[in-house]
Amino acid sequence: MNQILEKSIFEYSRPGRAAHAQQPPASADQSVLQQIPAGLRRNERPLLPEVSELDAVRHFTRLSQLNFSIDTNFYPLGSCTMKYNPKACNQYAMLPEFLGRHPLAPESQGQGFLSCMFELQEMLKEVTGMKAVSLNPMAGAHGEFAGVAMIRAYHRARGDLARNEIIVPEAAHGTNPATATMCGCVVKEIPVDAQGDVDLEALAKAVGPNTAGIMLTNPSTLGVFERKIEQVAKLVHDAGGLLYYDGANLNAILGKVRPGDMGFDVIHMNLHKTFSTPHGGGGPGAGAVGVSARLEPFLPVPIVGREGERYRWLSEADRPQSIGRLSAFMGNAGVLLRAYIYMRMLGREGMSRVGEYATLNANYVMARLRAAGFDLGYPERRASHEFIITMKRQAKELNVTAMDIAKRLLDYGFHAPTTYFPLLVPECLLIEPTETESRETLDAFVEAMVAILGEAETDAARLKGAPYTMPVRRLDDVRAAKQLDLTWKPVNSTA
């Protein structure tokens, strides 16, 4: 990894320099500009860099080289499904006709794009066992919002106005309770038992006439399949509530079992996880939602419909009970195209293997780490596509934390697993290898973990100071939050 820090783009800036090839010619006739009333004009130029094209290309290329990425490193990041993003998906989603198509272009100028979206909806229905799909939500949390909003709309349409409680297991992603709040619901957390399954007794006590629904991830964020899912579904349905499936871990069961068959009424899918669209350093994602028949009228619009050989948008007029529009146009269309291409390349055979090989890789790494002396979060259980190890013992005996292990892994060239999530397992690392990693990569990761455990026993201080080979060492987060420095300022600036 390149250790040379890159200076700020603003430090390259020189008044009067520019990437001239990118500028339209100056207008000879300034009379149109004079139409802007003086009081509405900008008088001082914004702080944008003045650099040559080469300066810009070098700067941003160098910045890219300071990053870990799937293309350069193994990312065993639990619950994030950092699998390979095939290059074909990017290339063919970026064909000029797709890139140039205006969102409000007529349907007649979009039959190619619309046909891909319609088929994507159909394929997602098939792999999830749901009755209908909307592709609109732009990320997992956005899909969650759509899902809970639909649950609320469903109860409201039935005149069942008291149902405003969303039940969430304590191991849930933070987005689950945050989403419930966004939807104006009250959150009720319930515990899981020692084996990682939902505590049915607690659930039975939690449900009632105020229950809007339950949000579940299955396999759960503890890396195990929720074995009592059928009882959970019955309990919630009998109480008049609906079941929400958080699709964060759909990769684990793809081609093996479907949320629709488990009794879920509404699900979101993270296309940027299971269907391999890139994470992009934080986004964009795509959080398509699928529903059972009773929620279909409430799906967010627009949806792609087919009439004979023609595809068209279904909007508010077609779906009067819809929860409405969640994006100005139709969500992250380009991301959806990438997911479509990925699904077409995998096909039915390839898609059935995803869950199998993701699970094989996770159980393999789990078996090897256990043999090497690591403590598992749930030693009695099979791993799903991910599993938890806990450093609780090492924290006590060696004063080495999960964070120390995570930071030291960076020096070995591996991205850290998810740390300190789920919150109920102390000093945990949540490890998800994905199906696209080879056995050799997994072995190398295990060897790095073993080497780090050895260092922990002989030289714990070494771990405390890690990483050493990154562009920076551990950063002062407290200072970052206390002495806020959120924008670059010229050195002589007093601001």
């Binding site: 799937i70 006709e97 732009m138 990320a139 390349m345 562009p471």
Partner: protein, 457 residues
Amino acid sequence: MPFIPHTEDDVREMLATIGAASLDELFDEIPQSLRIQGLDGIPTGLSEMEVGRLMSERARLDGRPLSFLGAGAYEHHIPSAVWAITTRGEFYSAYTPYQAEASQGTLQLIYEYQTMISSLTGMEVSNASLYDGGSAVAEAALMAVRAHRKSKSLRVIIPSTVNPNYRRVALSTAGNQGLRFETVPYLRESGCLDLSALESFANQDIAALVIQQPNFFGQLEDVDALTDWAHANGMLVIAVVNPTSLALLKPPGLWGAKGADICVGEGQPLGVPLSSGGPYFGFMTTRMEYVRSMPGRIVGRTVDLDGKHGYTLTLQAREQHIRRGKATSNICTNQGLLMTAATIYMTLLGPQGLERVAEASMQRTAELVQALTAIKGVRSAFAGPRFHEAVVQLDRPAAAVLAELEQGGILGGVDLANDYPELGSALLVSATETKTCEDIERYARSMSLALQAVRAA
């Protein structure tokens, strides 16, 4: 097996290490009754060559018409370097920069983005992006209600001059938390917000006024007077702006005596392709005093153990992964890659380049309006200054005229019949720096013929 590297030997040996007899055995905790046998509804897989051919055929169906559509998404020249760098694997396939030491590239880029967009909008701080312009308006309304220290109200004014889709998204998103949106009509003469109609809300408990500049019709609002009126009546001001226009127009931070409080908008014009509506990104900037009420990720500069400067996500106590049910928003994944493209775009254009793009767009639109209104049966709907978009009214039904134009490979504008029926047959048209004089002449000629054809029909 596409994208699965395992050999048969690998599988056998890995299963032996696990102590399982078969791949199937790894799923033995899942009730048998739930297991499926294959996915018959999915087509069989395609090689890369085959999928390439399929996608090229689909793309051809979409065509490449000459477009004068805007309404929130604008065609601009995108420098080649923007996407050549943005799609580098190190940006494209990286995760959210939670492990700061291994993500300095993305983090520094966000910090540079925050600097550029804050300066462009004239505000003090920025987040690292929201989903799109529509969802940014919704988040801004929620934030205003949170940040307003005195108002107990959940009411926000969104005038009818704000993009109708933004108003819909705001309602779908924030309505669930009980926010109520009030509307205000526009003046038929200018297409601008009716200040006297606003007066009916004076002295009421309202959290914020939303002002879009240029407004949905492309007209320039009297932002100083509107901002001062809102502040005088105890409301916060949410500015909704087009980033290109800010090369020429007064930034929201300088509106009125005190400036807007929250500024949001659609980032698409900054180097993001039209791409059927997404992925785009929403931007949001605000005053430092409201930074803790802001949703989304924020990057700060700090020092490492050796005292060396570095970048990290900060103020995370606002976010869902820490605060859970009490977070400022449920947003997690944002539109990072599009923000990356925008940062490279703003760098390559620079202050002068962005100004030239804005000027050329304004110029082309003025020429377009002039060429169209010279045709019998076409008139400009509104007087007064505008940026790079305009409403023209036709003496024949817009839908029929648009269909005629489309036959000739021209997308002539957005039909306003659904959202603004009071305007009669009306089109929202836009021309940016990508349009030449010949393009505009071609459109005008076609419009003339289209109107004749519709009259004759």
